[in-house]
């Protein structure tokens, strides 16, 4: 009797499984046709399934707003893979507002002259964005970043000219006996 039970079980279970695949065959595929469908667009035109576009909190490439950066170096310290390099010069004292919704003020005395992020090393863990007091280092939703050469993965956020300008400013500042407010506003104006 086991013999016939085996045959029956085999036939019925195979039929069950085939019913499942047949039903899937007649349902719509779930695939997002990626390059055609804009996954950064919240509505994802051209796609009608249930999959979601790239979310608001998506951890894509890091970017830095160097005007808000106060060169505290906390991001470089917390980075587990040492992919952030910040060098700064002492400059005129000002304050900056945080990019986070709370907009908290922080004093700024140091100006970054070099801010490099090695995206080839970065593991997108987000620890740097959490410790940043001003929110100047934050994630973008951009994820397309194939580079032909390895060194192109190192993103330089401060141009050599800008670095030169800050250095000059810092030298002037060092030469001066006492910093004055107008210098700071001038710096802000130039940055605008």
């Amino acid at each position: 009797m086991n013999y016939f039970r085996n045959i029956w079980e085999a036939i019925s279970s195979i039929a069950q499984g085939m019913a499942v695949t047949l039903r899937q065959f007649f349902t719509k595929p779930e695939t997002v046709q990626y390059p055609e469908v804009d996954v950064l667009n919240p509505r994802m035109p051209g796609y009608s399934g249930h999959l979601k576009p790239v979310s608001e909190r998506f951890r894509g490439f890091l970017t830095v707003d160097t005007t808000v950066c106060i060169s505290c170096n906390q991001c470089a310290h917390v980075c587990p893979v040492d992919c952030i390099l910040v060098e700064s010069e002492k400059g005129p004292k000002t304050t900056v507002n945080s990019l986070r919704p709370d907009g908290k003020e922080s004093p700024k005395t140091r100006y970054p002259v070099q801010f490099d992020i090695h995206l080839g090393r970065c593991m997108y863990c987000g620890l740097c964005t959490e410790v940043c007091p001003t929110g100047c280092i934050h994630f973008t939703r951009e994820f397309r970043g194939a580079a032909g050469e390895y060194h192109k993965l190192i993103h330089h956020f401060i141009s050599p000219e800008e670095a030169e300008r800050v250095r000059k400013l810092a030298a002037e500042e060092a030469a001066k006996p006492k910093p004055e407010k107008p210098v700071a506003t001038k710096v802000e104006a130039e940055k605008e």
Partner: protein
């Protein structure tokens, strides 16, 4: 009458082999199709995580724990966070505890989906694997909304979690559970009930309870042998003591042998249902409040040591941490489930066929990064 003698072949299986689940290598000695010896050769994915842990500050090691088992990153995050919290005596706010349980159980579902799907694909049925991935994709979407990553979440923090749930997230989790719960039955109809699949597994490579304990098997592999041991019940952490759930154990499903590959598989399928049950309870009772305890910016736990173990999808994951009072640990030892599962394969595969070895590896749910660390 003596059986027909054939030459013993030495056969190299892996590290590039479709069913070794990552870079694992076996040196097989086979007599025809029958395995005389399977010598596991590990270390292809060794990254020196224990040494790295000594070099980076406590919070900065968190993203490395993602890579410890990339299929269950949050369970690994949690284990590390819990170890350091015990070491430094940090209280975690209740909302963070609930978020941890919800995400960890979602992650358990995702990990078990890969596990059962990969076993089916090892058995030659590729469609169940894709169907499992189809459902896992929804979990990945939920995680992406919550913490911005789809695989290496880095979500837990020492003393809490990194981000609160975005508006409407809990409803979407509920929606997923409502969608997924019936899908387990569909998946069962597709592959679990399949006669060929059952016959391939139900009597293959049974592990007795004594043998499982002797080899230090943990998690679903241990429970598959009929040992009712689950750290969430037996050594509770987090808010698990307040939650109701059962611990499924192997019991010779489908007239099979206790502790066979099919038992281990069925334990995982049953755990999917239990995880859903746990998440539903947490969603119903999650309190408002802080998600992060007050933790000093530079964490220097007092001198001492701790061994803290938690129940990850691949069984017990434990961190043994020694602190010197510095901002980096003095020594970290990681204990993972796949390692002990790997050690039993040699003993287990003797006398079975090459096709069964694939089933054994698949049912033990060995993944390479956990073995090599």
């Amino acid at each position: 009458m003596s059986p027909l003698q054939t030459d013993i072949w030495t056969l190299n299986m892996g590290p590039q082999h479709p069913s070794t689940h990552g870079v694992i290598r076996f040196v097989l000695k086979t007599d025809g199709e029958i395995i005389a010896d399977a010598d596991p050769d590990v270390g292809f994915l060794h990254r020196g995580l224990e040494k790295i842990a000594e070099l980076v500050p406590y919070p900065s090691f968190m993203p490395y724990t993602d890579r410890l088992d990339y299929l269950a990153a949050i369970n690994m995050n949690w284990a590390w966070a819990l170890s350091i919290e015990r070491l430094a005596g940090i209280e975690v706010p209740p909302r963070a505890e609930h978020l941890r349980v919800i995400t960890a159980e979602l992650n358990r579902i995702a990990s078990h989906l890969i596990s059962v799907g990969a076993l089916a694909s090892d058995m030659g049925a590729f469609t169940p694997f894709v169907h499992a991935l189809r459902d896992r994709e929804r979990i990945n979407d939920l995680f992406e909304e919550l913490c911005g990553a789809r695989l290496t979440f880095n979500y837990c923090r020492i003393g809490g979690v990194s981000l609160d749930a975005p508006p409407g997230w809990f409803d979407r989790v509920r929606g997923f559970l409502d969608y997924y719960e019936p899908m387990i039955d569909v998946f069962n109809r597709l592959i679990t009930d399949n006669k060929i699949f059952v016959e391939r597994l139900r009597r293959v490579a049974p592990v007795s309870a004594e043998m499982a304990i002797a080899y230090g098997l943990v998690g679903p592999n241990l429970r598959g042998s009929g040992v009712k041991f689950d750290l969430r019940k037996d050594e509770p952490y987090g808010i698990y003591p307040q939650l109701e759930f059962e611990v499924p154990v192997g019991r010779g499903y489908r007239d099979g042998v206790l502790g066979s590959c099919f038992d281990r598989y069925m334990v995982r399928i049953e755990e999917l249902r239990q995880s859903i049950r746990i998440i539903r309870q947490c969603l119903d009772r999650i309190p408002e409040g802080e998600i992060q305890a007050k933790v000093p910016k530079v964490l220097r736990p007092a001198k001492g040591e701790v061994y803290c173990r938690t129940e990850a999808p691949r069984g017990e994951v434990g961190f043994y941490v020694i602190s010197n009072g510095e901002k980096t640990p003095a020594r970290v030892k990681i204990r993972t489930g796949s390692w002990s599962a790997m050690s039993i394969i040699r003993e287990l595969s003797k006398g079975w066929m090459i096709a069964d070895l694939v089933a054994i590896i698949g049912s033990l749910d060995v993944i390479a990064p956990e073995v090599d660390r």
